[in-house]
């Protein structure tokens, strides 16, 4: 099953739309609730990052019987030092993002904890792609 969503820069009101839709789908498919939580938490973190740090982008989701693959690809400033960005506590979040309850530098490490496979690629001035997989 393939699903696609668009995320828009700064659109915090709709941050999480893709994740909540994926949550509903996985529930319908009777996926183990602890796995659903891992999937949606990781996807939501990636979605919020695309909205908070980049200029929006696309969420692509592929669900099959044994796993889910998620790709969040944004157009944005990119991440100059991915290893640094992966460190807990590192954040360049703007005040508006902090006002929404984000910007603690916990998102990328939290994605890492929740998924079975994480791959972050980024080009400065172009954008960032986060690929994640969770096995059911």
């Amino acid at each position: 099953m393939h699903q696609e969503y668009t995320v828009v820069e700064g659109d915090f009101v709709n941050a999480g739309k893709a994740s909540s839709s994926v949550k509903k789908t996985l529930k319908q498919l009777n996926v183990d609730p602890t796995k659903i939580k891992r999937v949606v938490v990781a996807l939501y973190e990636a979605e919020v990052n695309a909205i908070a740090h980049a200029y929006g982008g696309k969420v692509l989701v592929d669900i099959d019987s044994d796993k889910i693959k998620m790709v969040v690809a944004d157009k944005g400033p990119g991440i100059p030092d991915i290893a640094l960005a992966m460190q807990e506590g590192y954040s360049t979040a703007r005040p508006e993002v902090r006002d929404m309850g984000f910007g603690a530098g916990m998102g990328l490490p939290n994605m890492q904890k929740n998924v079975d496979k994480l791959n972050v690629t980024s080009e400065v001035g172009v954008g960032t792609t986060v690929e994640m997989e969770v096995n059911f």
Binding site: A15, G16, S20, K37, V41, Y44, G101, F102, A104, N110
Partner: protein, 113 residues
């Protein structure tokens, strides 16, 4: 402790979830930081001063479904709608975060860690 008793203790308004007030609550977590809420493995009641749609969305993703909003922050229509879709309970009270945590701790609500 029953949600009904919690609401009474805190002098709280039940914004949504009247039908769930007989449910028992054992654990709570207090934070204004949604990044932090997203790291929880368990699903405690959330005590928070952050009151916007993202609070509700974050709870949805983290599968938390009982929220206490402190300091009488305005719970908006958007928030209520999203909370209703997800069968959540939202209580709103005037007390500060510190006071709410103290009162609930004293009443026997446990921390996660």
């Amino acid at each position: 402790m029953k949600l009904r008793e919690i609401a009474k203790l805190l002098n709280a308004t039940v914004c949504i979830g009247e039908n769930r007030l007989d449910e028992e609550v054992e654990h709570a977590f207090a934070s204004d930081l949604m990044s932090d809420v997203l790291t929880l493995k368990d699903t405690p009641m959330l005590i928070t001063g952050l009151c916007n749609v993202q609070t509700i969305r974050t709870c949805d993703m983290a599968t938390l479904d009982i929220i206490i909003v402190v300091r009488n922050k305005k719970v908006t229509e958007d928030m209520l709608e999203l909370a209703e879709d997800n069968g959540m309970v939202i209580l709103s009270c005037a007390y500060s975060m510190f006071k709410v945590c103290g009162m609930l701790y004293e009443a026997g609500i446990k921390p996660l860690f």
